[in-house]
């Protein structure tokens, strides 16, 4: 249908529309009009993606000079592919309705692992290996060497692309990862570099967060993206953690050992080169003296990872003299390594700030701040000069140099924690140096500054006001949308089970609680059809509960009703369990999946329809509060953003709980139980932090239930939901035709859907 969103003609590729989609588009349009940022929470399964795409594409067509590009960031590869498929649907609708061929270019970008078509390279298992191998075939100096020695291996796809691929732009259309590969195979061009080259002039790019948030990659990939772009972060409820992860570094003794080996390799390589080709080193020295930026000479294939600090912090001056010659630099790194080794030889925990660390290093080994800041860049230059093919081998020393640059660049927002052992195993020495970013706003700041509109959206962003605070930006729109429902297809229930005392579990004093948990699961397994997903607060906790249940014979009884699958730390094993779980749901046997909040399953897997008729959340998924990194972060949040520790912890726990239970509802035709098996959920501070679309259905009658009551209510709900549900039942209420949408009355109703904060 064709919609009129405040004067903008929007093509929407469906015959009907949900009221909240209309409302969402309204808010989105206002945000774009204001050229500001927005935070929008809309329930999962209400067609968020297609609303976003429809509106922004329409906006781009109407005002091609205002918005030149849409950068859509999602978290997982399947999510990225889904977005592109939805976009394809939209574009097909455009060409069908408008009759003309659209000249939009939309493409997905992913890592080499997902795009490589080189028969040998693509068969490697890990992304890192693929990257390394690709680099060893396509780096400019290797290709230069090949001129003199044609027998060296090459990647014909890259060669072809380099020769021809840049002359003609990628024809308009929608390119998913597989389409790019097909296209690449057909033309004989490297799809990865083709995609990277094409994002500059593409109208829509879909890729993962890291390409924009991780400075090491963003600088390489997303540097030339136009300012007049709209950036969308979908599934953004964890965006602060992504930001923090991209700036944090951990150094173990193993890292140091491997770096030591790296340094030795460097040294011997330098010696060798000195004998054969001293001019090369001299040339590098000259370049560094003149302060020529490597960007002038670097080719796209050479740089494996760019500077770890944000672009504004990168120093625009020549590399200091003390590390200019290759030997001096290697000596410098050796000294730095020795210092770090000494720091790891401790028996008690040390926590210090970056300035303290710098002071200490300058006192002890006379290393100044300035050369440290150039470490990352200097190492890259050296690696290129030495023509090291397999850069992946040098990941350890790269990590150390990145740490050096980061620690000397940022004096605020970071902390250094050195722990001599893991908390759980105090007898085993395993020293780790955590250089931890505590301020997510550091990494995302350039994004907010550079692009005119950044939209942060997800199904679970409550409480909405916390994101602008921790990410330090000022949105023009902050809205939460409810889900209009013709039938109440979600049923949140809070079971009044006592929470296990933290720590008491280890002493084995939590028998009754665990038994109650088990009884709840057992009862539910008897009444819920097909699939049940149960989430625990942590993996170790789940392991222990499963063992107790096994001893108590609870699991045996559960097995009479359903098969049991359990998430393990091994991703491959869990994938297998997941697939079998789905198979069991599919063939009618029914199954239970025991899983972990904050785990991969809770973040990336949807349990639509019969794959998840009930979700049980055992306990409140608080983060492990004993962690020193977390404590430091909480302190920082309190001091810098005036967010109380408890507020943040509860917020964090509730967003994960909401993520878990939200996995079961993926649309209005879907239905599912959401059972919060912990009485703490009934408290106002927890309840209030659930997304609005869940909170709405959490009435007083569904709080503080005994197991029996929970079972009764669930039975009732399931029986009701199992009745046929037809489109007519929804029409006019939660599903609108164009005419219905245009009625005055409906527009007023729609205005209430968006809840502005």
């Amino acid at each position: 249908m064709k919609l009129n969103i405040e004067g903008l003609l929007v093509y929407f590729p469906y015959d009907y529309i949900y009221p909240e989609q209309y409302s969402y588009m309204l808010e989105l349009k206002r945000t774009l009009d204001a050229k500001g940022h927005g935070v929008l929470e809309m329930p999962s399964g209400t067609g968020k993606t297609i609303s976003l795409l429809s509106l922004i594409v329409a906006y781009q067509r109407a005002y091609p000079l205002e918005v030149t590009k849409l950068i859509y960031c999602s978290r997982t590869v399947p999510e990225i592919e889904k977005v592109v498929e939805e976009l394809r649907k939209l574009m097909e609708y455009y060409s069908k309705e408008a009759g003309e061929k659209n000249n939009f270019l939309a493409l997905a970008l992913s890592s080499r692992k997902n795009l490589c078509v080189h028969p040998e390279v693509s068969s490697l298992r890990f992304g890192k290996e693929v990257d390394g191998k690709c680099h060893s075939l396509t780096a400019s100096y290797i290709r230069a060497q090949r001129h003199s020695n044609p027998s060296l291996p090459s990647c014909r796809f890259y060669e072809e692309f380099d020769a021809l691929g840049r002359q003609v732009p990628l024809p308009a259309g929608v390119y998913n990862l597989d389409d790019l590969k097909d296209f690449g195979r057909r033309k004989g061009w490297c799809p990865y570099y083709l995609a990277r080259y094409s994002i500059v002039h593409a109208n829509i790019i879909v890729y993962s967060y890291h390409y924009l948030l991780d400075p090491k990659i963003a600088d390489l990939v997303s540097k030339e993206l136009a300012k007049k772009s709209v950036v969308v972060f979908d599934e953004a409820h964890n965006i602060d953690n992504v930001c923090i992860d991209s700036m944090s570094v951990n150094i173990t003794r193993r890292t140091l050992d491997r770096s030591q080996a790296n340094v030795e390799t460097l040294q011997s390589t330098i010696l060798k080169i000195k004998e054969t080709d001293a001019a090369k080193l001299k040339e590098e020295y000259r370049r560094l003296v003149e302060g020529l930026k490597e960007a002038n000479v670097a080719r796209e294939t050479d740089i494996y990872m760019s500077n770890p600090v944000l672009p504004d912090e990168v120093l625009q001056e020549a590399v200091p003299g003390s590390i200019r010659t290759a030997e001096h630099f290697v000596g410098f790194m050796k000294r730095f390594l020795e210092y770090l080794k000494a720091r790891l030889r401790i028996h008690h925990v040390v926590q210090e700030s970056a300035p303290q660390f710098l002071k200490d290093i300058s006192e002890k080994v006379c290393i100044d701040r300035k050369p440290l800041r150039f470490c990352a860049e200097r190492l890259r230059s050296l690696l290129r000069t030495l023509e090291i093919a397999d850069i992946a081998d040098f990941s350890a020393i790269t990590l150390i140099s990145n740490f050096a640059t980061l620690v000397s660049t940022y004096s605020k927002g970071f902390t250094i924690i050195i722990e001599p052992f893991e908390d759980r195993t105090p007898t085993i020495a395993n020293p780790v140096l955590h250089f931890s970013c505590m301020d997510p706003s550091i990494a995302i700041k350039p994004v907010f500054e550079r692009f005119q509109s950044v939209i942060i959206t997800s199904g679970t962003l409550s409480p909405l006001d916390i994101y602008p605070r921790i990410l330090d930006f000022h949105p023009v729109t902050t809205a939460s949308f409810t889900m209009t429902l013709a039938r109440t297809c979600l049923c949140p229930l809070v079971c009044n089970l006592r929470n296990p005392q933290h720590g008491a579990f280890w002493e084995g004093g939590e028998g009754p609680v665990i038994r109650n948990y088990g009884n709840l699961l057992l009862e539910m397994s008897a009444i819920v059809p097909d699939g049940i997903v149960a989430f625990f607060t942590s993996y170790i906790y789940m392991e222990n509960i499963v063992a107790s249940w096994y001893e108590q014979g609870i699991l045996e009884n559960v097995q009479r009703n359903k098969l049991i699958f359990i998430e393990t730390p091994d991703a491959a094993e869990t994938s297998m369990a997941l697939e079998k779980y789905q198979e069991a749901c599919e063939n009618g046997r029914g199954a239970i999946l025991l899983s972990v909040a904050r785990g991969k399953v809770s973040e990336g897997i949807d349990f639509v329809h019969h794959f998840g008729r009930a979700v049980i959340m055992f306990g409140v998924p608080y983060v492990y509060t004993q962690s020193r990194i977390l404590k430091a972060r909480l302190e920082y949040l309190r001091d810098q953003f005036q967010i109380r520790e408890n507020d943040f912890l509860t917020f964090d726990a509730m967003r994960h709980a909401a993520q878990c239970v939200g996995r079961a509802i993926r649309g209005k035709t879907d239905y599912g139980l959401m059972i919060f098996a912990d009485k703490r959920y009934a408290r106002a501070d927890k309840r209030g932090k659930l997304p609005r679309w869940i909170q709405e259905h959490l009435t007083d009658g569904s709080l503080n239930l005994t197991i029996d009551e929970t079972v009764q209510l669930s039975k009732h709900f399931l029986r009701q939901m199992a009745q046929p549900f037809k489109q007519e039942d929804q029409l006019g209420l939660s599903l609108l035709t164009l005419e219905q949408l245009q009625s005055e009355e409906m527009l007023q109703k729609i205005a209430q859907i968006a809840h502005q904060v």
Partner: protein, 518 residues
């Protein structure tokens, strides 16, 4: 000597049978014994006929006893003093290898026959009529039955397989027997479940029972094993099941390596760009190295692994053979291209379908006819009574109908009764009487059907006689064309007797009926 063409596997000289010295031959399909100095066998048993062999140990005489299915038994006495024991053991071992093979075949045949009789009451009756009353021999009866049935038996055997309860192990409740022991009650269903779910155990069973262990010992060991109680920490004790655990582990690993077909649940390829080692804030999360894991944790993770494996195996066993075929194919394809991720060539269809499914909002679409066509019955009686044969109908168009109505109207308008040709009232009423039920022309209608007149038991007997005769006739006609002496003999010899016998039987029945009637 018929044995010349057979493969002789073992020859043992100086074996006495019925106090007579002779030589024992073990051949590919039978065991035979011939007296000294003669070139024919006086004893010869097919392996398939042998039910069991007994080799009593404690006796002074070194003997081997064969018990046949028919109940007969034959004793062989190994009389060569120096090597008797060795000879006997050699023969015994060979028999041990050979018998199970034939046993299976024999049992299978018996089972098959049994099954056929049970499933087909008519056949069973026929069997009673012909074989039990010794009209024809059992072999003859089955001779052309089995081969006939082998063809369609695959179809009839395709009964739906029953899945396995996930909790079958829980159903084996140990009971204390009062003196520090546990009793497990095993039913054949449970054993079947265990075998289907854990093929490794089945293999162990086949290897060890009954040569090394009795069935009871086997299951006792099973329940004592670390394998069964997976949560107990391996004490390092080697039992026969420790291998099973390894095999399970291997099976699980191969399942994991095979990967998943649905890209949406593949956690490995979920992340696009993982942070490199060393970056990130919580990369130091639980170290999975087993070195610094406590014993308890190890046992916990073993339990979890076991549940996953158990569920997967139960699922696989339930899926049965039907699902196996495509699975095999899939695994073949994935194995041919090894671990290479060049599996793209066959991956996209699944992936595309799954992604399309995931982005589909069915309620946002205009309902298209295919999905929800309400069942609209024009003739509901036809729906509830099943289809009726379609009568040849002449369809008339509305124009035809209008025309004919016009015609009739005209006819009626022009109708003039022709009173001279009217029938007299008496003839008319007699005609009506004749056409009424019970009337002259309606005799057939009032007649009772024959099947209501004859009592059902008589009908049944007649039916049996009829089928028996039919079967005999089938045998008779199957002899033509007569191209082997065997057939000729069958035809001229006992078939005639059989017919005679059948006829006698029928005759006896007939007279019995006559007697009963009078």
């Amino acid at each position: 000597m018929a044995a010349l063409s057979e493969e002789v596997l073992l020859v043992v000289k100086r074996v006495r049978q019925r106090k007579q010295d002779g030589t024992l031959y073990l051949m590919a399909e039978r065991i035979a014994w011939g007296p000294e100095g003669k070139d024919r066998f006086t004893v010869s048993h097919l392996y398939a006929d042998i039910r069991q062999k007994i080799s009593p140990d404690g006796k002074a005489k070194i003997q081997l006893q064969l018990v046949l299915h028919t109940g007969e038994s034959t004793n062989f006495h190994f009389s060569n003093e120096s090597t008797a024991l060795r000879d006997r053991d050699a023969a015994k071992d060979l028999l041990q290898q050979l018998l199970p093979k034939f046993k299976k075949r024999a049992n299978k045949e018996l089972e098959e026959k049994n099954r056929m009789l049970q499933e087909d009451p008519v056949l069973f009756q026929l069997y009673k009529d012909l074989v039990v009353s010794q009209v024809i021999s059992a072999e003859e009866f089955w001779a052309n039955r089995l081969s006939l049935n082998n063809v369609d038996h695959s179809a009839s055997n395709n009964k739906q397989e029953v899945g396995i309860s996930a909790a079958f192990l829980a159903d084996i409740r140990p009971q204390t027997d009062g003196c520090n022991g546990l009793r497990y009650n095993l039913t054949s269903d449970i054993i079947e479940s265990i075998f289907r779910t854990y093929p490794a155990v089945k293999q162990k069973y086949a290897e060890n029972v009954p040569h090394n262990l009795t069935e009871k010992e086997f299951w006792t060991r099973f329940f004592q094993s670390h394998y069964f109680h997976r949560d107990r920490i391996s004490t390092g004790l080697q039992d026969i099941f420790s291998e099973c655990a390894k095999q399970d582990e291997k099976g699980l690993r191969s399942m994991v390596v095979q990967g998943v077909k649905n890209p949406l649940v593949d956690l490995l390829s979920l992340e696009d760009k993982t942070l490199d080692e060393g970056y990130g804030s919580n990369s130091m999360a639980p170290s999975t190295s087993s070195a610094n894991k406590t014993v308890k944790e190890n046992s916990n993770s073993a339990i979890i692994k076991r549940f996953n494996h158990h569920s997967a195996m139960v699922l696989a066993a339930g899926a049965g053979k039907k699902a196996d075929a495509p699975n095999d194919q899939a695994s073949e394809t994935s194995s041919t291209d090894g671990n290479s991720r060049d599996s793209d060539f066959f991956q996209p269809p699944v992936k595309k379908v799954k992604i399309q499914e995931a982005i589909e909002y069915e309620d946002l679409h205009m309902e298209n006819g295919k999905k929800t066509v309400a069942l609209n019955l024009k003739k509901s009686d036809r729906y509830s009574h099943g289809p009726v044969p379609l009568l040849p109908q002449q369809y008339t168009t509305s124009q035809d109908i209008i025309n004919s109505v016009n015609c009739i109207q005209q006819e009626i308008a022009n109708y003039k009764p022709c009173l001279t040709q009217v029938m007299s009232s008496s003839t008319a009423s007699s005609a009506i009487a004749a056409l009424s039920p019970g009337g002259l022309l309606m005799q057939a209608g009032s007649q009772q059907a024959i099947n209501q007149m004859v009592p059902s038991d008589v009908q049944g007997e007649l039916k049996h006689l009829y089928t028996a005769a039919g079967e005999l006739l089938r045998h008779f006609w199957s002899c033509f064309p007569v191209n082997t002496p065997f057939l000729e003999e069958k035809l001229t010899g006992h078939l005639e007797d059989m017919f005679q016998m059948a006829y006698n039987k029928f005759h006896a029945w007939q007279t019995r009926q006559m007697l009963r009637k009078t």
